[in-house]
Symmetry: C2
């Protein structure tokens, strides 16, 4: 299939597919006579792997490492494990930050008093302190 169909089947935009290829996340596909990219179901699986990783917020660089690891099936999976743990730590850190952030935003929202002038608005006051 050509890139248009590949894009629809995978749910990735054409530009993103070409971008992933440039970044080495997808193998260079065969080309037609007219230099069009040609994909098969194996390529689709590759891309779906990448998409799944991205949906977990794993960076392109780490996905590249995972792909390399996948190609060494007999090695120990400890680095895979470490990568996931690290990703989990990142998520936990971000969640903690967001909780604090949410609390402050909520407090600000309630401090507004509503229907104030900007001068009297509790939000602006709290941002100014």
């Amino acid at each position: 299939m050509k890139i248009g169909e590949f894009s629809k089947k995978s749910g990735c935009s054409i530009q993103t597919i070409r971008y992933y290829e440039r970044e080495g996340l997808l193998l260079n596909p065969n080309r037609s006579e007219g230099n069009f990219r040609l994909y098969d179901s194996k390529a689709l699986k590759q891309l779906e792997f990448v998409k799944h990783c991205r949906s977990l917020d794993i960076s392109l660089n780490d996905i590249k490492r995972l792909i390399e690891l996948k190609n060494k099936p007999e090695e120990s999976c400890s680095s895979v494990n470490a990568l996931i743990d690290q990703q989990l730590a990142l998520v936990n850190k971000r969640m903690k930050e967001l909780r604090a952030l949410k609390a402050e935003l909520q407090q600000m929202a309630s401090a507004c008093g509503s229907n104030n002038t900007i001068e009297a608005c509790g939000i602006i006051k709290s941002l100014d302190s």
Copy 2:
């Protein structure tokens, strides 16, 4: 004070300060004879306002809007309110995403089985599906 001291007092890097100036988040400071930027305590307050907003993950564009609103003290603060609500919605959305993400990562981590080969690793398997 010159930009070096201003940077230390505010906790913003020199480059970031110049960047904020270019983006219109800080007023253009007076200059010395030798063209060095000169700041006063008012400028410091401005920068602290920006920093506070940034710590709440408010975008530079929205901060610009807030600054404009601050300069119209007699207007209604409803847009300020809306902006904060919107920010809160963003945070909530992201938290929800992260919760789902965390759950999947945790499941993956436990699926590894540890000390496996990559071939047998539950993580890679789950990423492949």
